[in-house]
């Protein structure tokens, strides 16, 4: 492969988004939610069409993460109790995870990649809980998807990425900074643009796009700040890995904006530790089995 001409973000995403498309079911789900006459029953029946997804959503809904007191048996129950948008967001996360397969193992260990993503998602969700944000699942989803741009780059520019990763291991700037130097864009930007192309709502795509550049948080500064901080926390805890080996610098403005103090950190870490392994098992058990 020749690298004289680094492809633009658009070119990069164009190719990937056609090959690795979201399952059709997700767009059906969204359409149903937006339909003025659709009811909860309609949504439940759409989700129920995908047996694997249904099982995983129900597992997730019954996990300690949600902490509902009694067992949620059906998707209908899940939708009425967990919430419509929440179920949709969970479904999105799971769909995206399914969409990326076949990335060379030597470049990235997908298991480690999703572990990092999940840790970030959990951290974001727990942070948002503390901030009393509404619809916590969008934070969870944004966390899971925040490094999806990296997957695109691994698929389309595997050699360059390998070089960068090796370079970054020897020190110097952080990986995302090297990406910017080399390509003129970083994985966050790639991820944001991909998600936008998939018509994911802006309050998920924007935080993903700016999670290494929170001052440019645009319309969703709080969401971007939380995601940025969650990413730092996940790196610091060394739960999984997506290529970057060092902990990114925490933006001071983020710390200020979230009104956090050192007292918040210890309980947060404790909560993440408490549910991380359980959630990993719930989400990846069968995927691992499939491989």
């Amino acid at each position: 492969m020749r690298h004289d001409q680094t492809p633009s973000v658009e070119e990069l995403v164009q190719d990937v988004s056609t090959i690795h498309s979201l399952p059709l079911f997700y767009s059906r789900l969204c359409e149903a939610i937006d339909h003025p006459r659709s009811s909860i029953a309609d949504l439940a029946s759409i989700i129920s069409d995908d047996q694997g997804l249904t099982a995983r959503i129900l597992k997730l809904a019954n996990s300690p993460l949600f902490g509902y007191f009694s067992k949620i048996e059906t998707i209908t129950q899940a939708v009425t109790i967990i919430g419509v948008l929440q179920v949709r967001d969970l479904a999105l996360a799971l769909c995206v995870m399914d969409a990326f397969k076949g990335i060379p193992k030597d470049l990235v260990d997908m298991n480690q990649f999703w572990r990092h993503s999940l840790a970030t998602g959990l951290a974001a969700r727990l942070l948002a809980t503390g901030q009393r944000e509404s619809n916590l699942e969008r934070f969870f989803v944004a966390g899971i998807l925040h490094d999806v741009g990296r997957l695109v780059m691994y698929l389309r520019l595997p050699d360059e990425c390998r070089e960068l990763i090796e370079e970054a291991r020897c020190g110097g700037p952080l990986l995302y900074q090297k990406e910017r130097q080399r390509f003129g864009y970083d994985h966050a930007e790639v991820g944001g643009i991909l998600l936008r192309r998939w018509k994911i709502p802006a309050r998920v795509t924007e935080p993903v796009q700016y999670h290494h550049d929170p001052p440019r948080g645009g319309q969703y500064p709080r969401e971007t700040s939380i995601l940025h901080f969650a990413d730092v926390v996940a790196h610091a805890l060394e739960l999984g890995n997506s290529g970057e080996v060092r902990v990114p610098t925490l933006d001071n403005a983020v710390w200020e904006r979230l009104h956090l103090s050192n007292y918040h950190i210890a309980p947060l870490v404790k909560q993440i530790d408490g549910c991380f392994e359980d959630t990993v098992r719930l989400l990846f058990e069968d995927t691992d089995g499939d491989d």
Partner: protein
């Protein structure tokens, strides 16, 4: 056909699509309308304080989104309980409470509290649907909304659920804003109250502080009074004792006593001075005085003291220094005395130079630099900044070595600053120190007369009639003694102000020494009464205040009460003399002989020696009528005392002889009977020395002399 059918089905499909879009459009418009309508909740909240009004308005809007058969709002009470606040229809309350209780029990309620979205669960019967939504902001949970949907809950439209969430969150913020506004108002009210309260407290504190300051001044004045009164006694008695016959050892002790007492007085004065300066109560006087003469004279005592220590104290007076200037002579003297005193204290060999240099003259004002240069121990560099602080010396061992309060420099510095200068010091340890300051003083013209100097001479004055008003007998005695040294005055005493006024009214006095603080009637009041009475009676007696309150205000107060002059206790002899001299109006040096016992007395006594009538009359200011009275008093007292003296001589009791002879000598001196006086004094001294051999013969001579005296004055004193 088939194309037709396809056409038809396509038209139908399109029709359906159009219907759908129209419906969507309507639906969105309705939702938007509902949300817009809710924005008015905010303004309602401010207008109407009752939140149930707002909640009911919200219910109406929600009713447009869902066909609720009932709606209710539970709000969090101050005791953190969920209380049913609004229920529509009202009749449903009981049933709804039952449903909610069930949901609280199974945990749904608690679950819903933590979700910021609608939670939809079936009712107990399973026929209806219960929709729960928390009413919460980012900061806190304010309540729980409950809605009952009659029909199957699964038909609930998803898009409307979002709108419901939006409205509830919005309402929560509206309610919270209203509450915050209310709180803000309350806080502002509280703040205002608190500011008012604080202001009152501060005002009260200010009053208390002022009272405390007053109390401090009074305390200071009282303390100084309390210390000065006994000190007055000590100093006075020491002076009197000095005049008695003492052996060398006693004399030494007495001198030490005197020095200690003077030092104590000096310290008290310094403390008072400093507190006055600090209180800004020192006003510099502005009088003309002969600067050059003043400096020369001021240095004299130091030259003497320096000589004793083997130091040369010299004055380097610039020829150009103007002879007369206007300023505060006393304070300038105080500064120089202090600096030179320090220099003497800290210098053991070498010299002390006081210099006064003219820096220049501008607009009739002379800039003068005063320097005191010594060759003493010097001041360590680290201590230089500290020496001007009160109560501090270069180091604490200095205090032990050299004594002093450490107030002198502080006072001097303040005084120099009051004069517009700055006291500076250059010093090298072991080499010496130089203190200097520059002040500008207006140049004054030389006055015509310089009579003042004559005042230094001590001599007997024209006898005056003097009234001493003092409640302390000892002070009366001391004042009397001092006064009697200046001449043969007629002295009466009064124990309080009332007595003083009475005595004044009965007699005619030239001078009244008036203690300010006395029981029954104080000196101020007494003076006022005397001045008032004088307005009818005519004449004006000189009243001199005597007070131990050396505070600033005293002078003014005394003047206001009509007093003419002012002495602060302990009274210094020279001050007292100055007052007497001023009143006596001139000095008439009387025969000096009176003071010294004549060694040779072989010649038979002349009449004048027996009784000098002229001398007595002169001292009585020519009052012949008093002469008889005095003579009779004298004869009566000698008549009483002679038998006592005889007994003492018989018993050979030196103490008693000494005492009796002393009394007789004093009385005789007062009445101008010099022969009696001399004999009695001779006896007194011999008795004191333990030499009693001559006493019987002296007693005989004394009795003879007294007989002669009686004979001489017999015609003056009509018997009866």
């Amino acid at each position: 056909m088939t194309t037709n059918r396809t056409e038809e089905s396509r038209i139908a499909l399109l029709q359906e699509r159009v219907n759908f879009l129209e419906e969507s459009n309507l639906n969105y418009l309705r939702t938007l309308d509902v949300v817009t309508a809710c924005s008015e909740l905010q303004s309602d909240v401010y207008r109407d304080k009752d939140p149930s009004f707002v909640l009911k308005a919200m219910f109406e809007q929600l009713q447009r989104l869902f066909p609720f058969s009932g709606q209710a709002m539970y709000t969090v009470s101050p005791s953190s309980e969920f209380v049913l606040t609004v229920c529509e229809p009202f009749s449903m309350g009981g049933w709804l409470q039952n449903e909610i209780n069930a949901k609280i029990e199974d945990g749904t309620f608690a679950w819903a509290l933590n979700q910021n979205h609608p939670v939809i669960v079936p009712t107990l019967s399973g026929e209806d649907t219960l929709l729960l939504h928390v009413l919460a902001t980012n900061s806190r949970i304010r309540g729980m909304y409950a809605g009952i949907l009659g029909t199957g809950h699964l038909q609930t439209e998803v898009s409307s659920l979002n709108a419901l969430s939006t409205i509830l969150i919005y309402t929560a913020y509206a309610v919270e804003n209203a509450e915050l506004t209310e709180m803000l108002k309350e806080h502002m009210q509280n703040l205002e109250n608190r500011v008012q309260q604080r202001t009152r407290e501060l005002e009260a504190a200010l009053v208390r502080a002022e009272e405390a300051t007053r109390a401090k001044s009074v305390f200071l004045a009282n303390m100084s009074h309390e210390i000065r009164t006994p000190l007055n006694g000590v100093l006075g008695l020491a002076r009197i004792l000095m005049d008695t016959r003492l052996n060398q050892e006693q004399k030494g002790y007495l001198e030490s006593l005197n020095v200690s007492a003077e030092n104590l007085l000096c310290i008290i004065n310094e403390i008072l001075d400093l507190s006055k300066i600090e209180a800004g109560k020192v006003a510099l006087e502005s009088t003309d005085f002969p600067l050059r003469d003043f400096l020369v004279k001021s240095m004299r005592p130091f030259e003497l003291r320096g000589r004793e220590k083997g130091l040369a104290v010299q004055l380097a007076l610039d020829d150009r220094v103007p002879p007369h200037v206007t300023g505060d002579q006393v304070r300038l003297g105080q500064i120089l005395t202090n600096l030179v005193g320090n220099a003497l204290k800290f210098t053991s060999h070498g010299s002390i130079t006081v210099s006064c240099q003219l820096e220049g003259i501008e607009a009739g004002r002379a800039a003068l630099t005063f320097s005191v240069i010594d060759t003493g121990i010097g001041i360590p560099e680290h201590a230089i900044s500290k020496i001007f602080e009160k109560f501090s010396q270069a180091d604490s061992s200095t205090t032990r070595l050299y004594g002093g309060t450490g107030l002198g420099l502080s006072i001097s510095k303040n005084l120099v600053e009051l004069m517009g200068g700055e006291l500076a010091v250059e010093s090298r340890e072991g080499v010496g120190s130089t203190f200097h300051f520059t002040i500008t003083l207006p140049i004054a013209a030389a006055p015509e007369t310089t009579a003042e100097e004559e005042g230094e001479l001590v001599g007997e004055l024209r006898p005056l009639r003097i009234l001493v008003a003092d409640d302390v007998p000892l002070n009366q005695l001391i004042t009397e003694k001092f006064l009697s040294k200046t001449g043969s005055h007629l002295i009466d005493c009064a124990g309080n102000g009332r007595e003083a006024v009475e005595k004044w009214a009965a007699g005619s006095y030239d001078l009244v020494f008036m203690d300010v603080q006395m029981p029954e009637m104080d000196g101020l009041e007494a003076s006022r009464r005397i001045r008032e009475a004088e307005r009818q009676r005519g004449g004006r007696v000189h009243i001199c205040a005597m007070t131990a309150n050396a505070m600033k205000e005293d002078g003014d107060i005394c003047r206001q009460a009509g007093m003419d002059s002012y002495l602060s206790k302990p009274v210094q002899e020279k001050d007292l003399v100055a007052v007497v001299r001023k009143v006596a109006g001139g000095k008439e040096p009387s025969p000096v002989a009176q003071h010294h016992p004549e060694p040779e007395k072989a010649l038979p006594p002349s009449d004048v020696e027996v009784f000098d009538r002229d001398d007595l009359l002169e001292r009585l200011d020519g009052a012949e009528d008093l002469l008889a009275k005095f003579l009779r008093m004298f004869i009566e007292s000698i008549d009483e005392m002679l038998p006592e003296l005889e007994r003492a001589v018989r018993e050979m009791d030196p103490t008693a002889i000494h005492f009796r002879a002393h009394t007789i000598a004093g009385s005789a001196a007062n009445i101008s009977a010099s022969q009696i006086r001399d004999l009695a004094r001779d006896m007194e001294y011999r008795a004191k020395g333990g030499d009693l051999a001559e006493t019987p013969s002296l007693l005989a001579q004394l009795e003879e002399a007294f007989g002669r005296f009686r004979g001489m004055v017999a015609h003056e004193v009509p018997e009866g």
